[in-house]
Symmetry: C2
Subunit: 233 residues, 2 copies
């Protein structure tokens, strides 16, 4: 009765003293751990089992907070999109302001190519993605693009930006394989037998990319001026 019991004084935490406190499992905690693993070791190490180990639990527990792997990937991507700089800057040209936003979006994906692939394949609806859409629509509206065009143009703009990020990103992610792939395509295009593929042969120089900045700028301009100039059927 008068026994001084350390564990009573310390309360329910007494047996957490030795091990680093195991943080309570939350959806955000899981997504955070997933991003950490991705940055440290690449997307292919981001698995339910590995994450469970990281969070000191069993894989089944994660399913209380995320529906499946696809949903986890989408959540990771949305989290990352929080880094996009949506401040359009103070250029007096709305195209320039819009380009600023798109470029920031592109940079974030470019630095995380394996997540960029998620954006290509999954339909997103997280708050940060919506914020990007909101910002793009805002600039299009300021530029006076009719709503019907703007609604479809935002899709194309983000699609093209995402695809370029994937394309370039994959290269730096796995430089040797990409180099091999690239020179393979390069070889194929360069050696395209002029009798089978005359047009490819005639365009071989133009097909091989050119400065990435120029190309991105050109694509952006194509979409904007095309969308402005093409009425809805």
């Amino acid at each position: 009765m008068f026994v001084t019991n350390a564990s009573v004084r310390l309360g329910p935490m007494h047996n957490r003293r030795e091990r680093p406190a195991k943080p309570a499992l939350t959806r955000d905690g899981i997504v955070g751990a997933a991003l950490a693993v991705m940055r440290a070791e690449g997307m292919d190490k981001v698995t339910m089992r590995r994450l469970a180990k990281e969070l000191d639990t069993g894989p089944a527990s994660l399913y209380v907070y995320v529906k499946d792997t696809e949903e986890l990937h989408a959540a990771m991507l949305d989290e990352l999109l929080g880094e996009v700089d949506l401040d359009p800057g103070d250029s007096s040209d709305w195209r320039e302001r819009l380009r600023q936003v798109i470029t920031s979006y592109q940079r974030v994906l470019h630095d995380n190519p394996s997540l960029a692939r998620v954006a290509l394949v999954t339909r997103l609806s997280g708050p940060h993605y919506l914020a990007v859409v909101e910002a793009v629509l805002g600039q299009l509206a300021e530029g006076g693009m009719p709503k019907a065009q703007a609604g479809w143009a935002v899709d194309m703009l983000l699609l093209v930006a995402t695809a370029s990020a994937v394309e370039h990103g994959t290269q730096q992610e796995n430089p040797s394989a990409a180099a091999a792939n690239h020179s393979q395509l390069e070889r194929v295009v360069a050696e395209a037998p002029a009798d089978t593929y005359p047009n490819i042969a005639a365009h071989s120089r133009e097909l091989m990319g050119g400065p990435a900045g120029n190309r991105a700028r050109w694509m952006f301009d194509v979409l904007i001026s095309g969308a402005l100039g093409t009425p809805i059927p």
Copy 2:
């Protein structure tokens, strides 16, 4: 010495009589089996192990003919692209002829959405893909598009066509999940709090797609007229 030996008369095939003859393993045979499994049971059953079983061998044997799973997927897709109708038809308008080709490309991918995803993520260089590029370049050249623009435009055209195929295809592939996804995005967009996402709220009707045909046509026109009107920097 005078023994009549059936197996000698039948030659090396004598012991193949009972089981259906196991065809020699070839790259084409593997790709063909992969497409058959995909059509019958979906892309996620197309695995090295399953294919090996199908071909009556061990998984290791497949690696003699394909480098890895990604290469197999690319080979399947290229095979499929052989179905694209590259005959541009006889319209007097080159845009119409080009649209014909793009539409056929789109239809083939649309019917095979899980392979369409491959086109979005992998750099292709198979003969049938090159034939598509060749046909598109041919029409752009007939339309008088300068080579520099055409080289970049073909990328955008195929990218946008591929992405739409993925988007629509995924819906019909897994109708219930897609319906859930769709109404989720629909709900998010429709309920987008007008104070947080005023532009999304203002564009909600326009963002929700509209008739697929109209949209595809509009996107095509945007790209063509945008590319024609935007000189290379």
